[in-house]
Symmetry: C2
């Protein structure tokens, strides 16, 4: 794959907004020419599939202003600086839903925006849940719901779960619950 690589010639931050940081690099491409590449700098994130003993999953309804729609999502959030994503997952589960989990299993890492962000999301399965009070961040508004895995797959198929991390979580859960993946 080495013949596809690009070499960084220079790198600078060209925008720093309230939340978003944009990096602009000059690169030397495989044809020897110089090109500009631009992307968002992101600290990474964690998402978890909280599976209750009644076989339902804990999810959230959240309005997402960028798309101007309410989404059905698995709980997730950005890493604090230097934080391991398992800690991020524990924190976000507690903050967004009030649940704590004793049993955590790492599933996979995904890259949601390879064209223009370095974001990665680590996905976990969270079991052995106990309820505690929800502790939302300032400016965060969401509603906790319980969904059965069958309903969730129906929503995916019908185009009602379009958030990628959530849809990928649904497919992994489907494989795990059917005993195809462990």
């Amino acid at each position: 794959m080495k013949h596809l690589l690009e070499k960084v010639l220079s790198s600078k931050q060209v925008f720093r907004g309230r939340y978003l940081k944009v990096e602009q690099d000059q690169v030397q491409a495989p044809d020897g020419k110089t090109y500009v590449r631009e992307y968002i700098l992101h600290p990474g994130a964690a998402m978890m599939i909280p599976l209750l003993s009644n076989e339902k999953v804990v999810m959230v309804h959240q309005y997402r202003h960028a798309v101007k729609q309410v989404f059905l999502e698995f709980p997730a959030g950005k890493r604090d600086r230097g934080e391991e994503t398992l800690l991020t997952a524990r924190r976000e589960l507690r903050e967004e839903t009030g649940y704590e989990a004793k049993d955590w299993k790492f599933l996979t890492t995904i890259h949601p925006v390879i064209g223009y962000s370095n974001e990665h999301i680590d996905l976990f399965l969270a079991r052995d849940l106990t309820a505690a009070p929800q502790q939302l961040d300032h400016g965060e508004f969401l509603e906790v719901v319980e969904v059965s895995p069958d309903e969730l797959m129906k929503f995916v198929r019908e185009g009602k779960v379009t958030d990628v991390k959530t849809q990928i979580g649904a497919f992994w859960l489907d494989k795990i619950l059917h005993g195809e993946w462990n």
Copy 2:
């Protein structure tokens, strides 16, 4: 879901780079307070699963500078202004792989970055393929490969296909080829 909505108070473009545009909105949230929301303005995109008569899928290896890795991906690309995504899909399939398809089926729409981009990607299944010359864009470098659906699912499970649109395409193809979804 109305109680989760946010009202736009003002909206301005705060960054316009070589490729990326950032919008910053002031919104009124459900608690009546004002918050800042920032996101990338994106024209939307199309991705297709090109299924050959030998049951393999046509994919591309592409270096993605934002993540600094080579990814195994389904062919995809951004919409030209006002273009229907089926046209985008036809164009990108031809440009990136050289294939043309007679049989196109819309599968679903996904949102890869609901936290900070309005991007959506329409996913298509492309069958009845014929080969023609590849016509890459300026500054685009990629390598076409054929992969069997079983191999692809193995790569997903092993964390070797981390690009979300591609992983979601793999799961949809898996459901379709097993006759669970049509």
